[in-house]
Symmetry: C2
Subunit: 364 residues, 2 copies
Amino acid sequence: MKHVAHPPSRASFPVVAVLAGLLATGCGAPPQSASDGDAVDPGRAKIATAPHADWALAIHGGAGVVRSSVSPEEEPAYRASLEAALDLGSGILADGGTALDAVEAVIRTLEDDPLFNAGRGAVFTNEGTNELDAAIMDGSTLACGAVTGVKTVRHPITLARRVMERSPHIFFSGAGAEAFADEAGVERVAPEYFFVQKRYDQWRAVVEGEAAEAQGEPADDAEAQGGEDKHGTVGAVARDTHGNVAAATSTGGLTNKRWGRIGDVPVIGAGTYASNASAAVSCTGIGERFIEHTVARDVTARMEYGGESLQEAAKAEIHEVLEPESGGLIAVGADGSIAIEFNTEGMFHGSGDSTGQRSVGIWQ
Amino acid sequence: MKHVAHPPSRASFPVVAVLAGLLATGCGAPPQSASDGDAVDPGRAKIATAPHADWALAIHGGAGVVRSSVSPEEEPAYRASLEAALDLGSGILADGGTALDAVEAVIRTLEDDPLFNAGRGAVFTNEGTNELDAAIMDGSTLACGAVTGVKTVRHPITLARRVMERSPHIFFSGAGAEAFADEAGVERVAPEYFFVQKRYDQWRAVVEGEAAEAQGEPADDAEAQGGEDKHGTVGAVARDTHGNVAAATSTGGLTNKRWGRIGDVPVIGAGTYASNASAAVSCTGIGERFIEHTVARDVTARMEYGGESLQEAAKAEIHEVLEPESGGLIAVGADGSIAIEFNTEGMFHGSGDSTGQRSVGIWQ
C-alpha cells in the first residue's frame, strides 16, 4: 500500500517529538521560514525522526489507473518507463544536481512517453484537442511557475520553469502562455504531435458513453474504462544534496474536458507545492477534490503549523480528508524522507534515495 | 463531502495537546477543534479577540491604493460605495440570509461600480482588453467555483457561483468559461461595457512609462501612479446566522497584464478560501506573493493545525510572511470575529456585524 523509505518512529515518542516542535518555536508550530527557506529548519530537523537521506526522489504516473485499463502485456512497459525516469532523476541527484533540475528532467521524459497522460500522451478534450497544464515549485525560495491550456508546447514543465525564472509572474494561460513560450525559446510542436490512438479511442468511448447515457442506455465497459482512466498525471518530487526540495507536476487533464476546465495541477497549493520548511508534494486524482482541500499545501501546512510528520500528514490528507477513489500523492520531506499514499486501486509510482532504497509499483 | 479532518495527531496525543496549550501561553491560542463544521466552536469563541457575533461581514476594494491615486474629491465617493455595499450585505445577513448570498450580492454591486478594479471598472490588459477573474467558496461544504480570463461577463462572481453549483468542476477559463456562462444563463455584455476612461488612462500611462524606461528615460509620475494603482481587487467574507462562512473575490487583474497572466484571485487557497472549521478569507495585492504563500488557505491552516486565533493568523501572514507593500486581506472567523490587515499605504475596506460594530476605512 505505502512504500516508506524509512519507518516512521515519531509515533513512539509523540510527546518528545511535539515538544521539540513547540520548544523550537514557542508557538506550537515551526516558524514560517518560507521567505528565507534556503535550509532545513533546525527546529523541524529535531521533529523529523526518519533517518536522513542526502538525496531522495519520488515519482508518479497518475492515480486514475485501474486493472481493467492496463493489460498484462502493457504493465511491464509502464514499469520500464518508471524505472527509466527514476534512473534519470537519481543520477542527477547522486551527481550533486539540484532538485529542480531532477524533477524537471523526470517530467520531461514522462511528457515524451505516450503511456502517460501528460505531454505526448495527453488525453483529448471535448473539442478533440489536447490542452496541457503543468506546474513547478522551488522549495528553497517558494518561487513557482505554472501554465494551463497550452496546445503546442512539447514540454509544458519546461515552460512552467521559464515562467518561474524569466517572468515576474507565476501562472500563464492559453495563447498567451504559448506566446511567452516563443519569447522564452521553449520548443513548440504541431497539435498532431499529441495524437495517440489509445487516448483517442478512450475519448471516443467516453463521448459515445455520454451519448448513450443521455438516451437512458447504461454506459458500456469501454466507456467505464475510459472514464476510470481519465485522471492521469505525472509528477516528481525531490530533495537534493544541498538540502533543497522541489516539486513538478504535468498533465493532459481530464478526458473530454470542456469549458476551459482547469484542474489541480497548475493550481499552486492544490496539486503542487514545495517548501524547504517542510516538504515537496505532487498530487494526482480527481482535481476538484485536491483544489477544495489544497492538498499539496495542506500536507506541508500540517508539518509546519501542526508539527505532524511527513507520513502523518500524507496519510491524513489521502485517507482521512479525501474520500476513497479520489487519488494520491508523492512527497519528499526536507529531511529526505519519502511518503507515497493513494486511495485508488492503483497509482503508477516509484522512489529511490541515497540510502539505496528503491521501489516501483502500481497497485495497492 | 467530508469536511476538513481534525488533525489526527491532536486526537491521538491529548496530553501533548494540553502541554501545547500551556507552552503556547503568550502566543495565543491552545490547540482547538478544526472539525466543528457547522457551529461556533466554544474553544474558538474563547480565543476570539472580537466578541461573538451572530453575523459578520467584511469587504475590501483593493490594497493597491495610494494617496496620490485618490483625490480628496474622489475619497467620499469610494467611502459611499463601501458603505452601500456594507448596507446591502448586512441587510441580507441580518434578515437570516446565507453568507454565500451576502458575499455574492456585495461583489456584484462592487463589480458594477467603475471605481473598483473588478467588473465594469476592470483595468486594461497589454492588448487593450479587459479580462476578468473571480472566485467564490462555501465554507460549509468547501464547494468552490472560479473563472479566469472572461471578457464579456458582467458579473464574474455570479459565473463563479454557477460553476460551483451547476458543474462538476471548479475552475473554468476564457472562451470555455463564457460558453458555460451562456449554458448557465449568466449575463454577458459587449466588451465596450468595461471601458472606463480613468482605467484606460492608467493603462496608457503604464504603456508609455514602460516605453520610456525601455529608452532609458525615468518613468514619470503618471506612470508611477498607474503602476502603484495596478493591484485592485474587490472581496467580501461573511459569517451568517446559521453558522456558515463564505468568501468571494473578483478582479480585473493587473494593468497591462500579458501572456494570459492569472493572479491569485481565482486560485483557491491563494486569494480566496473559506472553511467553517476556521474562517473565510479574501486577499488583495501583488497576486504572485499570495500564490507562493497560499495566503488565504494559510490563514485558515494556522487556525486549524496551529491553534492560532484569527487575529494571530491574519497578522502573521500579512506582517511576518509577506514583505511590506505586498497587499492585505479581510477575514471573518466561524465565530463571527473579523480581521482586517494590510501592509500597503491603503486598502479600501469596511466591516460590520450583529453587535453593531461598523467601520469603513482606506488608510493605515
